[in-house]
Symmetry: C2
Subunit: 171 residues, 2 copies
DNA sequence: TTGATTGCAAAGCATTTGCATGCTA
DNA sequence: TAGCATGCAAATGCTTTGCAATCAA
């Protein structure tokens, strides 16, 4: 049996978006998409550009910007901002909605989700007759690792932590 | 009895901050603070600059930027971003913490507060051993006025709305 | 008098745009 | 072949910085 492409669904979505918009499939777009999908991190355009550049130095900066915008329109990527005046992109397709905690010491980003918070948000919107399309909740502070460092403890990270995906921005 | 300055407390705080940091009181800073305090809106540096410029055309753009930063440090102003890549400033002293709903049609900003959301946030942070210093919750969508416009109703805004302060950004 | 403050112009930075060339459909 | 895509350089837009002149303490 032929081995299936790990990202075939995402690629099909992109393909569909491309065609629906009367655009064209190109080697650059394919490469950028491939690398974006294989990187489970919050990437700035610059980050992605340097990864792409390693594989194919002929690809230009502008194309990465333009393609990221395309991926966002296609619903494959989502823009996020962490306060350093850069736009980061994260996977959007098949990824649950979540919010972010950003460590101001090390730049680590913790993704979390609270159904209760979401519910209260909708409730508040309803009170004002406001129809929300999307939202953004971010908390800045100090992550557990950086707190430990600050007090110079040697205690090993203890016990069962809640499930969390940790990523790093602020390169 | 002498009439008291409406903003004497804020001015005293600024004065104190100025002195504590070994800085100097100047006419420009006084004017900028005065105008900032008298404007109950979300102001970009450019907005504030043009207001200041009307009173005193000799004040420069840069000074407004620098002073807004100073006001933020002094705890009198708070930076907010609504997604148009500008930094807005709102009053911070003696103003309750709140979050924002931003109408993507007209730029109207609705301030709201939910103790429950705040509590859930702290709870989530606690789960991850994260010590939050501040946070930002924003919802984008369509405000009630713009929804009415969209469906071309002539119904007058009905009934008792929750207390809300409405401001406008995106000038 | 000393050193902070100011305004101007220039520089920064992330991102966008104009345009000639290249390439997909 | 038509016209979208690309890469480069230049342009943007907001914000910061360098610097000489000014001004507060």
């Amino acid at each position: 049996m032929k081995k299936k492409d790990k990202f075939e669904v995402e690629k099909a979505i992109f393909q569909e978006h491309i065609q629906a918009a009367g655009l064209r499939k190109t080697g650059q777009r394919d490469l950028i998409l491939e690398i974006f999908l294989s990187t489970e991190e919050h990437l700035s355009s610059e980050d992605l550009y340097s990864l792409v550049h390693q594989k194919d130095p002929s690809v230009g900066n502008t194309t990465v910007y333009r393609t990221l915008k395309l991926l966002t329109e296609a619903g494959l990527a989502r823009e996020v901002r962490f306060g350093d005046n850069k736009t980061y992109y994260e996977h959007h397709y098949n990824h649950d909605h979540h919010d972010h905690m950003i460590c101001t010491e090390c730049g680590r980003v913790i993704e979390f989700f609270s159904a209760e918070i979401e519910a209260r948000q909708d409730e508040m919107a309803g009170k004002f007759g406001f129809k929300p399309t999307h939202h953004s909740l971010r908390m800045w502070g100090v992550c557990s690792d950086c707190q430990e460092m600050a007090v110079e403890t040697t205690t090993a990270p203890s016990g069962a932590q809640p499930r969390v995906r940790v990523k790093t921005a602020f390169r």
